[in-house]
């Protein structure tokens, strides 16, 4: 029996971008306000889960050809890389530093190496959540 999910699919095309935007906002906002890599990654996987609900597994896999297990590995490399990188400046493991840089449009911004560590957490959370959901949802 064929179903017609036109309302759900149209709403999903709009709302998943909003959820993704909210996730990116909460990820970059985590330094000063509540948020960070963990909840940002969970919200991004929530947007992907909404796509999986409205469409099906094969369509989402064609639209986003991402292997989430490799994504988890890349995230761990980011997290360990920021720790090991402090060895090159003869500092202890996981020492973080920051600096003020000037950008053409945005003005002066504070950039920290904590953001790279947070990016690792973000990728690991997305990879783990999506691997669990795809593995459970795929069995027939």
């Amino acid at each position: 029996m064929k179903y017609n999910d036109i309302i759900l699919q149209t709403v999903t095309k709009f709302i998943s971008f909003l959820i993704f935007l909210f996730a990116v906002y909460i990820f970059f906002n985590g330094h000063q306000e509540p948020g960070g890599g963990f909840i940002g990654g969970l919200m991004t996987s929530a947007a992907l889960v909404l796509l999986l609900l409205a469409f099906d597994m094969e369509t989402v896999r064609r639209a986003l050809p991402i292997d989430y297990k490799i994504m988890t590995a890349i995230g761990l490399v980011f997290a360990v890389g920021t720790g090991v990188g402090s060895f090159f400046f003869s500092a202890p493991f996981l020492s973080q530093t920051f600096g003020y840089f000037h950008f053409p449009v945005l003005g002066e911004l504070e950039l920290t190496t904590t953001l790279a560590f947070d990016l690792g957490v973000y990728l690991v959370v997305i990879g783990t959540a999506m691997t669990i959901i795809q593995t459970i949802g795929e069995d027939n």
């Binding site: 306000e33 509540p34 929530a46 889960v49 909404l50 469409f55 099906d56 094969e58 369509t59 795929e138």
Partner: protein, 95 residues
């Protein structure tokens, strides 16, 4: 001080309406009744969070409200799809 009493009264009223909605969750004869009641409880939790933001005079919980709205929507869609089709995530819908 009087304004704060008004907000606490409003939070109490929303809490009472959460309790009344919980009656539908426990009693509701069919599954869709319970799903709708849980969605309504999610929306009421958003309003309680907003009221406590005002009472505690902080803006730290603004993201919590958006988060609750998103999670209530996704949860309701997942429950509705389970009731309708029996599966939450299909493998290939054109097959």
């Amino acid at each position: 001080m009087v304004l704060n009493a008004i907000y606490i009264t409003a939070a109490t009223l929303v809490s009472i309406s959460i309790l009344l909605t919980l009656y539908r969750v426990f009693k509701g004869p069919s599954m869709p009744d319970r799903v709708i009641a849980l969605d309504v409880i999610g929306i009421q939790l958003i309003s309680v969070t907003a009221l406590f933001c005002i009472i505690l005079n902080t803006s730290a919980f603004i993201e919590v409200m958006l988060l609750l709205a998103i999670l209530a929507f996704i949860g309701t869609v997942a429950f509705a799809k389970y009731i309708e089709k029996g599966v939450v995530i299909e493998h290939d819908r054109d097959r």
